[in-house]
């Protein structure tokens, strides 16, 4: 079955319920200026996505670019089915794997081995497959004796290695990836690259959110530029990246002047 992603007219508001509403208001205001309002019930909401529409079919490699708070991660979470928007439709066909944060829902109190088992069960693996997953991850992440110790005591590098090995061990048709994934140290990235490229090539659809234009250039055939929750540009990698760079440069000179 061919993989497919269909997003139509999706808008998503974040209600802010908790904490000191006023100070939170100010905090959020500084990062997402102009995108705050009150909804009908006078709750404070952040307009995280506004009328987002696009379609991806098998073979598409989409890059998401934009500044912090532009809505890239929210869009990925929406595609992953974690957030359900009240307006618009999202349809995803095919097995899906979302690599959203290094912890990937790992429980830091559990051992590496237990976390691997949980991930395997989540993906519906049977016992032999579970054992293979464990071996595969253990070998790549080079955790050795640490595998039976709680993830809490791992160094941050070990956590990234474990998260990475786990995430790349299970091959999906639709791969959603946030940029933290490419943020390992140089030696690790060297080793990780092959494995990651293997998975990216194996996936039918890739959606990658990144700040690093060279990564987007390498891997993506199409780029969506997100700005304040909206799609600002949607086109081929080269074109959109050029305009984004030009925009960033002009914004930079404005700031300098």
């Amino acid at each position: 079955m061919a993989a497919e992603i269909d997003v139509r007219g999706v808008s998503l508001d974040f209600p802010l319920y908790h904490g000191n509403a006023r100070s939170l208001k100010r905090t959020v205001f500084s990062t997402v200026s102009g995108r705050m309002g009150n909804d009908q019930k006078h709750r404070v909401v952040v307009q995280a996505l506004r009328d987002v529409t696009f379609h991806l079919s098998s073979g598409d490699r989409l890059g998401l670019i934009g500044t912090n708070g532009a809505g890239k991660t929210t869009l990925l979470r929406t595609l992953a089915g974690i957030y359900e928007p009240l307006v618009g439709k999202v349809r995803v066909r095919g097995t899906l794997n979302a690599l959203l944060d290094p912890q990937l829902g790992m429980n830091p109190e559990l051992t590496g081995r237990e976390n691997i088992a949980l991930r395997g069960l989540y993906n519906g693996l049977d016992r032999p497959a579970l054992r293979r997953l464990e071996e595969d991850v253990a070998e790549f992440a080079e955790l050795d004796a640490f595998l039976d110790l709680p993830v809490r005591i791992y160094s941050s590098g070990m956590v990234v290695r474990l998260g990475f090995a786990l995430a790349t061990a299970i091959r999906p048709q639709v791969l959603l990836m946030d940029e933290w994934f490419l943020a390992g140290d140089a030696a690790f990235m060297e080793k990780a690259r092959g494995r990651l490229e293997d998975m990216v090539r194996g996936a039918d659809i890739l959606v990658l959110s990144s700040h690093l234009t060279n990564v987007v250039l390498d891997w993506c055939s199409r780029v969506i530029w997100m700005d304040q929750g909206r799609i600002r540009e949607d086109g081929s990698t080269r074109e959109v990246l050029d305009r984004y760079a030009a925009h960033a440069a002009s914004a930079g000179t404005l700031a300098a002047a």
Binding site: E84, K89, V90, L100, R132
Partner: protein, 282 residues
């Protein structure tokens, strides 16, 4: 590694905002949780293991503390109520263990979704799985505490007889109640952070108002008809009485069933309505 088979079908992530579509989504949530039952069981088991990691007795600390509590309270209240221990202790052991299950289920349930925040935000998971995990976790605890009941029953040579079989349907109803309760409290407490302390207070009050440490007969002749209005009483009684060799009366069963239906109906309505919002609340 070969591809995992999960979620191979089309995922309609955001259907029409009609009631029927929402109900379908809620049903799908339950179905998906059932498909992930092994994960759910593992999560529940790891919760217990984690709580007692590095301790020698492990989960049997629960058993020990229950035993100490039963012994201490048994001595004092048997004297206060002028009952002999043979009459009173089996009743108290059963009551305390069952109430302990209920109260820890309610407390766990209140924190259910908020405690799983990290997981909810990083992977798509059916929400009923979190509810089922809490129920399972508390069932494991209950199983450890059963040892105390068995011991007390053995000491006083008490055997419930065939009436004891009635505890089985009673407990089946408990399972349904438990899941509904965990889901409802989880959702409400994620949205309104003032609810957990309120729930704690209500539970504390019900412990004294409900015949848990005092026997139902003590309420006084002519006032027994009031008891089935208390959902905690009838729900407790349909499991406790059979295990003590007594058959609960019809009013008790009617009450337990009525409150269970009410709870399930309310939970379903709530869940259908808010399922898609929980991720924003935690």
């Amino acid at each position: 590694m070969r591809t995992a088979a999960r979620g191979a079908a089309t995922l309609e992530l955001t259907p029409e905002p009609t009631l029927a579509a929402r109900q379908r989504m809620a049903l799908r949530d339950l179905r998906e949780a059932w498909a992930l039952r092994r994960l759910c069981a593992t999560l529940a088991w790891l919760d217990i293991k984690l709580r007692y990691r590095g301790s020698m007795l492990g989960p049997f600390w629960l058993t020990l503390s229950t035993a100490v509590m039963v012994a201490a309270m048994g001595g004092i209240y048997a004297a206060l109520f002028h009952m002999n221990l043979r009459q009173y202790l089996p009743f108290l052991a059963l009551s305390l263990v069952l109430w302990g299950y209920l109260s820890s289920l309610v407390n766990d349930g209140s924190a259910g979704f908020t405690a799983a925040e990290g997981m909810i935000r990083s992977v798509r998971m059916p929400f009923s799985l979190y509810g089922a995990r809490i129920v399972l976790r508390n069932l494991i605890v209950l199983a450890h505490n059963l040892v105390v009941i068995v011991a007390v029953f053995a000491i006083y040579a008490i055997w419930p007889g065939t009436a004891g079989l009635l505890a089985v349907p009673g407990f089946a109803l408990w399972l349904v109640d438990s899941l509904a309760l965990a889901m409802m409290l989880g959702a409400l407490c994620a949205r309104f952070r003032d609810i957990p302390p309120i729930v704690g207070n209500v539970l504390q009050m019900m412990f004294f108002v409900t015949p848990v440490i005092w026997r139902p007969e003590m309420v006084g002749a002519g006032r027994e008809w009031l008891l089935p209005f208390n959902p905690f009483y009838s729900t407790l009684e349909i499991v406790r009485a059979p295990l003590l060799g007594e058959v609960p009366d019809l009013a008790t069963y009617a009450s337990a069933l009525f409150y269970a239906l009410l709870l399930v109906a309310l939970t379903w309505m709530l869940f259908v309505r808010v399922r898609g919002r929980i991720a924003f609340w935690v």
